[in-house]
């Protein structure tokens, strides 16, 4: 009858009266909940971000290597190619009946820490990401001249580049290069719109440009006295001898597996072909163990937070015997005392969970741009989902369950102490 509401109100006010220690308990639960939710959030967002990076491509072809390695360097610009594909092999592939389009990729150079990608106009036409989105220009247009460059949104923002500005492309991959191709100045021709993918962090040039900047280089070092001027370069035959990888679009997706087998068995040179979705799945299988480990650690941190709460409530019991006895003397039944302590645990956990969610969103709002910048992972701020609400319910439920222990002790105390207070 008059029970539950009264008890709940009393629990809240009793907690408020001890808000110093109560707040500490709430903080420790909040921190653990933030961690657990955050790990899961970053995990799913990272997956979504990776999955959004490439779409519409049916096969990725590169020199013979592990599937993951090929996926990582060709699409995510992580790691390096083990070997190249000859231009002739590429052309044979591109001319196959089932192939609708190809995007040749030539990697290996960098510009102030950003990867340089040599490619063809097919890239701007056929590359798809996040479903069916195409690359759009924020300013300028595609590569037209041998020394034109198109840069991603992050490159433009971080380096402050404008269309028309001359830049120097370096050989190798370091942020600071000791060997600059400083005699071949490129000009920024276009800036791409933000995509939330590694494209944002890439400097695009033509395949011929990659060939040109290496024209007077052999085995990675410059040959003295053989410098070639830009005008001489324009006159040269700059057909590439090799490329790093190829993105392939097919006329019919059903042909993917057949072509994949054909590429893998290609007699001319050792090649690998991967289907992006399948390779991504391999990646998830690989990192799945780490994810589970992280989740398990976070779950234990939550358990630690709840145990801290349990300790706090149990320690408070003795000094609160007076409070319990007063309640008994004004008519609280032993089960009221029981309910008081269980609702106290529930209230602490609930406040902890709410604060945990608030902290998570605050952190995500602050950290999302940093994560995107450093790792190219786009973390969207979305409303709590099924998983988040389940976690919230489990934490509060576990707290209520734990609250039974101090509640039982207070119940026993209430029965034995009666109305007199023996402290």
């Amino acid at each position: 009858m008059s029970g539950l509401g009264t008890i709940f109100g009393l629990a809240a006010r009793s907690l408020w009266n001890r808000r110093g220690t109560a707040l500490l308990t709430i903080f420790s639960i909040a921190v653990s909940v933030t961690l657990l939710l955050g790990v899961e959030r970053v995990r799913t967002e990272a997956r979504a971000s990776f999955a959004n990076t490439i779409s519409g491509t049916d096969l990725i072809v590169g020199a013979r290597s592990g599937d993951l390695n090929l996926l990582l360097y060709a699409v995510f610009r992580i790691g390096n190619a083990t070997n190249n594909i000859t231009w002739q092999t590429y052309q044979e592939l591109a001319e196959r009946r089932e192939v609708a389009w190809t995007i040749p990729l030539s990697l290996g150079d960098s510009h102030r820490g950003f990867r340089v990608l040599g490619t063809t106009p097919a890239y701007y036409e056929h590359y798809r990401f996040a479903g069916d989105r195409t690359l759009q220009f924020d300013a300028g247009g595609p590569v037209a001249d041998l020394f034109d460059a198109v840069i991603g949104a992050d490159v433009a923002r971080q380096l402050g580049y404008q269309v028309g500005q001359p830049v120097v492309i370096a050989h190798g991959l370091g942020a600071v290069s000791f060997m600059n191709h400083d005699d071949k100045p490129f000009v920024i021709r276009g800036i791409l719109k933000k995509t939330g993918t590694p494209v944002d962090r890439t400097v695009h040039v033509s395949l011929e440009a990659i060939e040109a900047i290496h024209a007077d280089w052999q085995s990675g070092t410059r040959i003295r006295g053989q410098e070639v001027s830009p005008d001489e370069l324009r006159a040269m035959d700059l057909t590439p001898k090799a490329i790093t990888a190829v993105l392939v679009g097919l006329k019919s997706r059903a042909a993917s597996f057949r072509l994949q087998r054909a590429v893998n068995e290609y007699p001319g040179e050792p090649l690998s072909a991967i289907i992006p979705g399948v390779a991504l799945q391999q990646l998830w299988d690989l990192v799945g163990v780490v994810e589970i480990a992280l989740l398990a650690i976070s779950a234990f941190v939550v358990l630690g937070g709840l145990l801290g709460m349990l300790t706090a409530i149990l320690t408070s019991l003795n000094e609160r015997r007076r409070e319990m006895a007063i309640l008994r003397s004004v008519g609280a039944r032993p089960w009221h005392i029981f309910g008081l302590l269980v609702s106290e645990a529930g209230l602490l956990a609930l406040a902890g969970v709410v604060l945990g969610f608030a902290t998570l969103y605050l952190l995500l709002a602050v950290a999302a741009p940093l994560i995107e910048e450093r790792f190219g992972i786009f973390v969207a701020l979305r409303a709590p989902g099924q998983w988040d609400l389940t976690i919230a319910a489990v934490v509060v439920g576990a707290a209520l369950l734990m609250g039974v222990l101090p509640a039982w002790r207070a119940y026993r105390n209430a029965l034995s102490d009666g109305l007199t207070i023996r402290v």
């Binding site: 008059s2 009264t6 006010r13 009793s14 004004v330 008519g331 009666g418 109305l419 207070i421």
Partner: protein, 234 residues
């Protein structure tokens, strides 16, 4: 029907000589009884027996017509909540509730007390304020203050108002004046008595301070009442 009736009640903690052995004790409805005895003479134990918190080894305790030994613990709880008001020596009030909320507490746990309080006033707040006013705590600023900001004398008057809300038939007071100074003590007793009379409540008032005894209908000495304490029985 007596307010309190003890017959051949024996109570002891563990084995050995019992602490209490009372052949007969009766309190009539509305009667105001003062029970004196030095500390350690079993005053609190006696109140525990009447309150139904302790169960005697032998004998019967009847409170307001109910034989406590025959009631389940839930029924004893209900009897205590619905029909008895308690005032203790100190630490009576919950520090996290306002004065007014402290007084209203019994009405939250007992529908009977609530119903009876509402025959006096239109709502519990008003009734709590009325009782506090009668006990000399009518300052409105005081009502919403935290109880820890009150003097001990004021706190005990709040405790009395709480014991009296909803007109319980029996009020049990355990040394409620021992932390008050002499003037406050006399005031407090006078207010308590007149309110008990107004509510029609019997009062069992236990104290070691015999100087208060004169204001009661009847005075009992626990040393005489209790067989193990009597010199003749030793």
């Amino acid at each position: 029907m007596s307010a309190v009736e003890l017959r051949d009640v024996v109570f002891g903690w563990g084995r050995g000589k019992p602490l209490l052995d009372i052949a007969r004790l009766e309190v009539a409805p509305g009667e105001r009884v003062f029970i004196s005895g030095p500390s350690g003479s079993g005053k609190s134990t006696l109140l525990g027996l009447i309150g139904g918190v302790l169960t005697p080894g032998r004998g019967t305790v009847r409170v307001l017509g109910e034989s406590l030994g025959e009631l389940s613990s839930a029924r004893r709880d209900a009897l205590r909540v619905d029909r008895i008001g308690f005032i203790f020596q100190m630490f009576n009030l919950l520090p996290y509730l306002s004065v007014r909320d402290n007084v209203a507490l019994p009405c939250r746990f007992s529908a009977r007390r609530r119903a009876r309080a509402l025959t006096e006033a239109t709502d519990i707040r008003t009734e709590a304020e009325r009782l506090l006013g009668h006990l000399g705590l009518s300052d409105p600023a005081l009502l919403d203050r935290r109880v820890t900001e009150l003097s001990i004398g004021q706190q005990q008057r709040v405790a009395a108002a709480r014991a009296l809300i909803g007109r319980p038939e029996l009020v049990i007071a355990d040394e409620p004046t021992s932390s008050l100074d002499a003037d406050a003590r006399a005031d407090f007793i006078a207010l308590l008595m007149s309110e008990c009379t107004a509510a029609g409540s019997a009062i069992v008032f236990v104290s070691h301070d015999r100087s208060l005894a004169g204001q009661f209908d009847r005075q009992l000495d626990l040393l005489e009442l209790n067989a193990p304490a009597r010199p003749a029985a030793a």
